[in-house]
Amino acid sequence: MTDCTRVIGVGNVNRGDDAAGLLVARALAGRVPPSVEIRECSGDMSSLLEAWRGASVAVVVDAMASGLPAGTVHVLAPDAEVLHAAGAHWSNHGFGLAEAIELGRALHVLPRRLVVLGIEGEDFETGAPVSTTVVHAVERAADLILDTL
């Protein structure tokens, strides 16, 4: 494991507010110190494991739908209950962040520090634009990461 810090934006640009994590990653491009790597990821379990492999610190940014007002920025520890309720998928089509965290822990390949930044969305329809509240939340999330790095 290196001292590398990695920011991993997760999402789908074709599903409305689900693009939030990717937009944060793109907003940070060129604005972070050289020791910080920016990556984008579909959210598939094995891709996530690969995305944070070798990093000592990882910040995963993903859209959420927990019922809080749209635009809310959550800062979550990897064992946060909401993540694991969200990840209770039965189909391997749905293996995602929660499963990646669990499997990473089992295989001892989690970064020394892992933080999940969730951005509450409101419209996840196919082809929908990113809602205005989420666009503003993306800016706040990017600033929060820059302040923390």
Partner: protein, 460 residues
């Protein structure tokens, strides 16, 4: 996206009272007692559905795979779209086997337009397909099916005790994903496939890195065969009617005739003369039947039994060393066959890479016109049939798609019926566990027809 759900997943490690092998389980002789077993969720399948088994006086009176997801209407979506759109639209049917949909779609279109694609372009298609076989088979072996044999609730729980094996599986799957990305442009729903070939073909130099990784993967795949062949398997065999493609010289993936273990040997264009689909009340996915025989079995076990002589020398040797023999009628051993097919896919990929020379053009030209085209390819789970009728303007007038899981539904239900009848002495937990395992033998991609599976066994 992370979304809340009201589904409750049991936490913890091993499932209680159901460690393999079967003979070690507590046995309760209850064949004639009224019993009711219900499992709300069957995990580790691709998609969602329900299953009910009813037993009365020791006889299974119903074994129904209930697929209640609404129909997805992809065949209707395709009508009115240009022939060029079919590979990208049909790829969206499945996130696990999009290459299979693309390959069947482009070849059916090329048949309709009387266009032939061969040489290095066909090799690249097979190479892309190898990537999908690797990632799909390895996912199922390591994270979906192996936990059944080792007594764990999930691959994640299994990883705590079998980290080395799971790490090997993840690295192996990644080689498959990366091969698909290299040729397809991205790992899920590739964007580089077109009717006639590809949008872009790689230079030889671009393939050097993946070649080295595939050499490692070949050893890892052989180790996988050894690993899974050491599992304990329930003693269960049936006289299946296996159906697969067969090619004169290849382990058929992209093309061939359709053959069966009862002697069927037909061109793909005759598929609908021999195989029919019908709607049954308990399923939103059409049930396929082989005329005159009913249920049939597609997928790795069918391919292995019908095409053992077409496996590469290495894959054959590995299969024989594993104890499989030249034929296998135990569906629980499909995990070994998937591992052998992973060896085959990697061996094939390395052979193609060794002789690859980029084609002069990334796609062959074609003349747009009316026609009907058929194609079948071997998706990881079995034959995937496409048929299109094009108008003179290249617009799709009619489409038919038959995925492998639809074709296996009757065989799955028959397996459950026979398995339950032969194992009524097992207690409810053990019987339920092995029924779930029996369904997973087929690696059903219910998402190709539906989503979500529940198991309910009622005994009266």
């Amino acid at each position: 996206m992370s979304a809340p759900t009201d589904r409750v997943r049991p936490r913890g490690g091993r499932k209680p009272a159901v460690p393999p092998p079967a003979p070690e389980r507590p046995i309760r002789p209850r064949a004639t007692q009224a019993r009711s077993i219900k499992v709300d969720v069957l995990a580790r399948v691709e998609g969602e559905g329900a299953l009910s088994v009813k037993v009365s006086r020791g006889v299974v009176t119903e074994a129904a795979l209930r697929i209640y997801e609404p129909p997805r209407f992809f065949e209707a979506f395709l009508r009115g779209r240009r022939f060029t759109e079919a590979p990208d639209i049909t790829a969206r049917i499945c996130g696990i086997c999009p290459v299979a949909y693309q390959m069947s779609a482009v070849q059916a279109m090329e048949a309709a337009l009387r266009t032939r694609v061969d040489g290095p372009l066909r090799d690249l298609r097979r190479l892309l397909y190898c990537g999908e076989w690797i990632e799909s088979h390895v996912l199922h072996i390591y994270l979906l099916h192996a936990p059944d044999f080792l007594g764990y609730e999930s691959g994640i729980h299994m990883a705590r005790d079998h980290a080395e094996a799971v790490n090997r599986g993840l690295q192996l799957k990644k080689v498959g994903n990366d091969l698909v990305t290299l040729l397809g442009g991205r790992e899920i729903h590739p964007i580089n496939v077109r009717v006639g070939g590809f949008y872009r073909v790689p230079e030889r130099s671009e393939l050097a890195a993946i070649t080295e990784r595939l050499k490692w993967a070949l050893d890892a795949a052989v180790a996988t065969v050894r690993w899974v062949s050491g599992f304990a398997f329930p003693d269960f065999e049936r006289p299946y009617d296996f159906v697969a493609l067969r090619h004169p010289s290849e382990y058929a993936v992209l093309s061939g005739t359709i053959v069966s273990s009862r002697g069927l040997d037909i061109p793909v264009a005759d598929y609908e003369q021999h195989f029919t689909e019908e709607h049954v009340a308990h399923s939103n996915a059409l049930h396929s039947s082989l005329a005159g025989h009913g249920a049939y079995f597609v997928g790795p076990l069918a391919r292995f039994n019908l095409n053992f002589d077409r496996l590469s020398e290495l894959a054959r040797d590995v299969a024989l060393d594993s104890g499989l023999g030249r034929t296998c009628h135990n569906p629980f051993k499909s995990i070994i066959v998937r591992a052998v097919e992973t060896v085959q896919a990697i061996d094939d990929a390395l052979r193609i890479l060794a002789s690859y020379e980029p084609p002069a053009e990334p796609a062959v030209p074609m003349t747009i016109g009316s026609g009907v085209g058929h194609a079948a390819t071997e998706a990881p789970r079995g034959i995937l049939y496409h048929r299109y009728r094009l108008g003179g303007d290249g617009v799709i007038a009619d489409a038919k798609i038959v995925p492998p899981t639809s074709q296996n539904q009757r065989a799955i239900e028959d397996d459950l019926r026979h398995f339950v009848e032969q194992h009524l002495e097992l207690d409810d937990a053990a019987l339920t566990w092995q029924c779930e395992q029996a369904v997973r033998n087929y690696d059903p991609c219910i998402s190709c027809a539906t989503h979500f599976l529940k198991l309910s066994v009622t005994r009266t």
